[in-house]
Symmetry: D2
Subunit: 349 residues, 4 copies
Amino acid sequence: MFFASDNWAGAADEIAASLQRHSGGFSPAYGASDLDQQLEQRFNELFEREVAVFFVGTGTAANSLALSAVNRPGGFVLCHREAHLIEDECGAPEFFTSGARLAPIDGSFGKIDPNALRRGLQRFDPEFVHHGQPMAVSVTQATEVGTVYTNDEIAVIAEHTHAFGLPLHMDGARFANAMVRLESTPAEMTWKSGVDVLSFGATKNGCWCAEALVFFDPARAKQLPFIRKRAAQLFSKTRFIAAQFHAYLDDDLWIRLATHANAMADRLAAGIAAANNVSIGWPCESNELFVTMPKELAGRLKEQGARFYPWPVPEEFESKLTEGQGLYRLVTSFATTEEQVDQFLALIG
Amino acid sequence: MFFASDNWAGAADEIAASLQRHSGGFSPAYGASDLDQQLEQRFNELFEREVAVFFVGTGTAANSLALSAVNRPGGFVLCHREAHLIEDECGAPEFFTSGARLAPIDGSFGKIDPNALRRGLQRFDPEFVHHGQPMAVSVTQATEVGTVYTNDEIAVIAEHTHAFGLPLHMDGARFANAMVRLESTPAEMTWKSGVDVLSFGATKNGCWCAEALVFFDPARAKQLPFIRKRAAQLFSKTRFIAAQFHAYLDDDLWIRLATHANAMADRLAAGIAAANNVSIGWPCESNELFVTMPKELAGRLKEQGARFYPWPVPEEFESKLTEGQGLYRLVTSFATTEEQVDQFLALIG
Amino acid sequence: MFFASDNWAGAADEIAASLQRHSGGFSPAYGASDLDQQLEQRFNELFEREVAVFFVGTGTAANSLALSAVNRPGGFVLCHREAHLIEDECGAPEFFTSGARLAPIDGSFGKIDPNALRRGLQRFDPEFVHHGQPMAVSVTQATEVGTVYTNDEIAVIAEHTHAFGLPLHMDGARFANAMVRLESTPAEMTWKSGVDVLSFGATKNGCWCAEALVFFDPARAKQLPFIRKRAAQLFSKTRFIAAQFHAYLDDDLWIRLATHANAMADRLAAGIAAANNVSIGWPCESNELFVTMPKELAGRLKEQGARFYPWPVPEEFESKLTEGQGLYRLVTSFATTEEQVDQFLALIG
Amino acid sequence: MFFASDNWAGAADEIAASLQRHSGGFSPAYGASDLDQQLEQRFNELFEREVAVFFVGTGTAANSLALSAVNRPGGFVLCHREAHLIEDECGAPEFFTSGARLAPIDGSFGKIDPNALRRGLQRFDPEFVHHGQPMAVSVTQATEVGTVYTNDEIAVIAEHTHAFGLPLHMDGARFANAMVRLESTPAEMTWKSGVDVLSFGATKNGCWCAEALVFFDPARAKQLPFIRKRAAQLFSKTRFIAAQFHAYLDDDLWIRLATHANAMADRLAAGIAAANNVSIGWPCESNELFVTMPKELAGRLKEQGARFYPWPVPEEFESKLTEGQGLYRLVTSFATTEEQVDQFLALIG
């Protein structure tokens, strides 16, 4: 009963098989192999336009290099108060940008409130150096609390962002899970809605280690080859990332994996909805479910082998929690089985 | 006939098989899995003492984080003029240390000359801030030109380094190739000879992507967990690196792979020694061979399918080159076959 | 009627005279002159213990180098939500620390709430790298809103700070104004209350450009000579800062200047207390006064020659403001005259 | 007999007087005062075109911010092997650019050899990220060894620089001394010869602390206000720098001061030319003179009150030095008197 994180799973069979298949032979290093170049072309098709794509090793790297590419002295990136960028990357975005800052924006359900964003942007005055200057807006899709922005919601945020001449970045660590829920396309979810730069994550959805940084305007990425190498993110045997993406995108594997993960979350949510002493926090829109339950029950579940983490209680949630209750996160993945879900549901009975 | 680089090869069969074997099931992320911890223990045994070990994704990352851990304001790292750190990492060591500098030291055969090192260290005066201050010495084993320091040579460099209160770092991107040649042990080659921090590379010797940063004094590594995460080098599914190291160290695979690579380089060297118009630059001591030949011949070899790179001619070498000749690097790997070598030798006649 | 800022004034006569007096002759550069060394000794006496003192050019430099000296990878500095560090230094603290972050702590009257601080510190878990790690706490004395911490209040904050093994920094851009109000001594206000590092500002209180960074434990400052030079803050003719501090500290000039500035603020406050349509925000405890008044009145005052700035309305204040009213800052200095104050009071009638 | 450095002198009388004259009254801070703006206009006239000018506190700051403005990831700045940037700024240029590197270029007489520069530039391949990429060339005028580039020599270097699409920076810490020797104009020495960015130093030539960063294409300086503030180089009472420049440029004071300094160096050179056991290293073209003499004599001179520093012996010079001889630097300034020079000459007899 592993609901701790989608990165507790290993790799999908097809991913491991692809790595094995491409392990023989010789081919140019540092992104110059046929396979690398074939994959770059594949990303153009995926997004229905010419993009500049760069493979990196971690989601934190993808996000940090995205911000490096749009960096400004004294710069601020506006993002949701609970964004992974702010909470969980140990200052990597600030480090890679040599001190750019992350300005937290409020919003319910883990989503940036467009009005709060507009106020945040208006706060800066280009003639007043003391505050610094905005340099980008970043959204997370799906969000840190498992909700999903509609494409229209993204478009509104993009409009505010572009009105101030800034680029919009999307942290898509769980892009596939959001896409499956939205029944949308990669192009619709990104540049057609105003996204300029995407961290396209595949690790959480069945790869070992495969993240892609995608620029919808290749001109914006001109310095990226140097930025990536300087950041120690240019792998010598890039084939090993390309081979993962090859299998990931082939034959809709990524969609099948995310569909399964989401379905497992839904199954969990449905079971919990029927339970007495566990209730659901935010709407379950991807592969993450946040639930409140008595701390005592949580302790008991862990003793019985369930794995999941407590979650810091956001302000908007505090009033919903009664004495002795905690907020917990349950994450499903491509590897979650119906048996695991049902076993967990039986325990909370 | 692929002699361009040892990173043109993919992964050894045992490495790929190990990745497949560990791809199922669930286990804690970010280095907390049983496999990760088992491998940490394995490194203690390998080096015959308790070490602090950190897995990272690239050799550039290992080197840059090693220097981050010993960073000082206005700091200088002394290393050989042709070191990978200086020549081939696009400023990553400088970037990760926020501007520490690399001071080039002279020396023949790609090795630091101990007297030049001592003079370089004496140049700094702790009372004179304008020059900055030394913070570490770094050696490459095997060197960039395929030679290998004896353990005694390392010990002399370590003595100078420690006399100034500095740590000695070893860039071991081709550590296995050097070890096989020296018929030594990991402990003898490192801390027993005075090395304090090691970048232990496995990628070039048959892994996909597996580098370990090893501190022989764990106290020196206290900040490394934060340094690594901030550097976007903490992988979520660290299992995928651990699984590679598991196979790599198991049953002496790494020694067998390096032995083969070196043997292929020796076979190449022996054949070339007998050739008329190709001659060997530095002694062939690992899996790299540097040769001079007419540029016209090099061009012809490429047309016939041989892959190898020209190499910048160092000063000590210029007089050896006659008109129309070039310097070239030939690299063998675990994947090089006798057939490839013999085919190449046949072509140079 | 110049109430825009205390840095709209120039230099006190004694400061200018001292610069003239020391402009002749020759003496060693970069802090080695007799005058520099005499001043270092003077700081020991001022603080009643041996301190390490470093002259720099701006308050932002003093703060940024203080934090550089205690920097940690993934580090956080906890300070008040409205601190100058966060609001007005264009990311300099983040830049000079290569990406350390500033964690905003709540508190009324511009002062850190000790309970909020404790909760903020507890939030970090040394075993959980994702959040980063705390590295210091910083207080501003006098605060950004013109209030003053009592020494006991500082001692409580210091206790929490030290309980987590962290150093306490004090941004003393208006240290003299606070000291005069507290009727305390430099030693009592700082290390005797638990402060470890002080930015001792003199520019706002009558100097041209004179800031001192003071470490109460000189061992903590060992790297500062290199940190300062690398930060381009080691002036060649350091005499010009020493000469200012010489006059500043001589014969209690600094106390007289701050006493005057505070008296002018009190005079302003007393007059405003009697006025109908202007009221005082926070208690006037140094040389800054925050007042609410109709925006229309503020506009009229400006037309009549008064100079002062609007101030962003903090949350705790929003309910106090009625429609059409604004919050404004009035700052006095050594150069403010009774005539200026009375003229302003006459206008608000 | 103070020949240690031109920064051992204090400030010229006119500079001190100007500071006193402008110390009263109130005016906007952070560069917005009438005096600041008047001086910006004065720089336009000085350089015969519209420039963007930024006052900073140290020469190291001017150089470091100039390079920050033209920074690139993995960037290299090519400059003379003995440039102040490389030798004497404790890594500040590398720090402020977050790790850009300084590539040393050879050349006699302290000047960049244009052919070595061209080779240095050709070395980089925009398609090969491993080496990094060039981002600027920097020359020092007058050079570190007291020689002066002719405007034609600068023009040749500019041509090579611009051929690679790079900007040319001039470190003009002793700009006035060079100009007096060249009998040229600020415009001829800079943009008319191809210089794009200038560090215009005034501190060494009679100011306390006054350095200006000048961009001949203001578009290139758009981010400078944020770069300067983030670098802690935006002084609050900028008037104090403007007041120095006001006196410095007024009535040709700066030319008179430099003319005097150079004349004193010439007088010293003429006397030394007639001496038996002291000889001149490089041609004396500004206010610095490099001489060889027996170390024993140097020791004796110091005992008799002369102040001057030994200088590291460059390779091109080693053969000229006989056993027991040393290389020394003698620097004159606006404050050097004929009596000091003659007293020194009498001692070397």
